[in-house]
């Protein structure tokens, strides 16, 4: 019976999420445009995530190169390092890892913020003031995440490549210029474009799940904690699902 209840609860929540997404698109194109709040959210999500994304990207590139080097050296294929790293980072590892890291920061942050606004009646106060809280809180945050996460991913990819170039420069005596020439020569538009499109969907998912969990947060501080936690867990799962669909579609249309 518990299993059946869980299945029922899952489908109810899925239905609510679809309704929430539909409402987002309806409100997105309605007036007034909350431009100031959108900019504030872009600043909060983008600028304040730079350090986290930068450090993650740098370590990612550094570790990836250090770990791959001995294997490539065994085949005398160290010269393939820049192209291998750039394709792996840009196509897959960069977007997924940076999206997961930002999901931890942005999605849980949104879930906790909107959740605490819900339990302290701030959302009701907003509604009574004649402001549409969905538009002010949800639309701005989902839009900001959709716009900022791709930029953070591009920044993270760049820093990861720099980290990798640094290892090659120190260990393999490869100049930065040669490294980046090799790295970019290996990249095609069919590597960059699907990864960029995918990163917009990642951003959308991060914003949407975070706001959804916060907006429907249950009463009490425990509800806020649950909203924040569920936002991260469900966003992470959704990111992998989107990644799978994106890779599948890319394979069908571009032939990887």
């Amino acid at each position: 019976m518990n299993f059946l209840k869980s299945i029922k609860a899952f489908f109810i929540e899925l239905g609510e999420l679809f309704y929430f997404t539909g409402r987002f698109f309806r409100e997105l194109f309605s007036r007034p445009v909350e431009f100031k709040e959108l900019l504030r959210q872009c600043y909060n999500m983008g600028n304040r995530s730079l350090l986290l994304v930068g450090v993650t990207g740098f370590i990612l590139g550094l570790v990836f190169t250090l770990q791959s080097r001995p294997t490539l050296a065994e085949f005398g294929a160290q010269s393939w390092m820049p192209s291998m790293v750039s394709i792996s980072i840009i196509r897959e590892i960069g977007p997924v890892v940076i999206a997961l890291v930002t999901a931890g920061r942005i999605s849980s942050g949104i879930g906790a913020e909107i959740g605490s606004m819900r339990v302290t009646e701030q959302i009701d106060a907003m509604e009574v003031s004649g402001t549409n809280p969905f538009k002010y809180l949800v639309v701005t945050r989902v839009l900001a995440a959709t716009l900022m996460v791709p930029l953070l991913i591009i920044f993270g990819d760049a820093v990861a490549l720099f980290g990798s170039a640094m290892v090659e420069n120190i260990k393999g005596n490869v100049s930065f210029q040669l490294y980046f020439n090799q790295a970019f020569l290996a990249l095609k538009f069919s590597d960059i474009i699907p990864a960029t499109i995918k990163s917009y969907f990642f951003g959308f998912a991060i914003g949407l799940v975070g706001t959804f969990k916060g907006y429907y947060c249950e009463k009490g501080t425990a509800g806020v904690g649950e909203a924040s936690n569920a936002a991260v867990v469900q966003t992470s799962l959704l990111l992998f699902l989107i990644d799978f669909i994106a890779v599948f579609l890319t394979d069908v249309f571009i032939d990887l």
Binding site: M117, V128, S129
Partner: protein
């Protein structure tokens, strides 16, 4: 009684029902509030009075019953009409509900959004409202820097930003120490005189109710169990009513 019948009706509720699952919160509640009245709804905490006022301003939809506030039924209004109606109602939330991420000034400016006439004089209006509650110095503070009493005053200032004709107070003195509670009571009395507003106050603080009410309604088991002035109810021999005044 003859004089009240000639007064303008501001709030009218008839046979209001609201349940959450099997929990019946309002079970045929009815009341009428006239212009200039200061009506206190008294009950034991957690028996549905907050639900009733949320139905009044369209935050919750009742299961059945009739609601009229300032000549409108909030359950049938469009969002735009509801927003217009809400701009004429001040609402003080139980926990103050100040926006955490905004300064006091931004909190007070928030209700003015979408009101062009008010926006042009927002600085003056913010200062006036803060002066009314005696907290002009707190204008650039964040809510986290305010004490409980200060938060309640700022929330009150925010509720009167649009000079509402009707003010709804949700447990304005709950959680405050007796001295701050007394200050808030005096402040509410002063604001009522200053703004000539009709007030609907829900509370379980009997001293506050006696100090401020022109009429008290006892909400018991989701219905309007008894109503009258504090003296009338205090003189009652009904044990349920007497329990409130012990």
């Amino acid at each position: 009684m003859g004089t009240t019948k000639e007064k303008e009706i501001i709030i009218k509720i008839q046979d209001l029902h609201k349940s959450f699952g099997s929990n019946v919160v309002l079970n045929g509640f009815s009341m009428t509030v006239y212009k200039g009245d200061s009506v206190v709804i008294l009950d034991k905490s957690g028996s549905g009075k907050s639900v009733m006022i949320k139905c009044l301003v369209g935050l919750l939809r009742p299961d059945s019953g009739y609601i009229e506030i300032m000549g409108h039924d909030p359950t049938i209004l469009s969002q735009k009409e509801l927003n217009e109606l809400r701009s004429q109602i001040g609402f003080l939330f139980q926990g103050s509900a100040l926006y955490d991420s905004m300064t006091v000034r931004e909190n007070l400016e928030f209700p003015l959004r979408g009101h062009k006439a008010w926006l042009s004089q927002k600085d003056t209006r913010v200062k006036q409202a803060l002066e009314s509650v005696g907290l002009l110095d707190a204008i650039d503070l964040m809510p986290s820097e305010l004490s409980g009493g200060m938060k309640r005053r700022i929330a009150l200032a925010r509720a009167i930003m649009l000079r509402p004709q009707t003010i709804i107070y949700d447990e304005p003195t709950t959680g405050l120490d007796p001295i701050t509670s007394k200050e808030i009571t005096l402040l509410i009395q002063r604001i009522q005189q200053e703004y000539d507003a009709t007030s609907l106050i829900i509370t379980h603080d009997i001293d506050f109710a006696k100090a401020i009410a022109t009429k008290i309604i006892l909400l018991i088991d989701g219905t309007n169990y008894a109503s009258g002035t504090a003296q009338e109810l205090e003189a009652s021999t009904d044990p349920k009513i007497k329990a409130f005044f012990k």
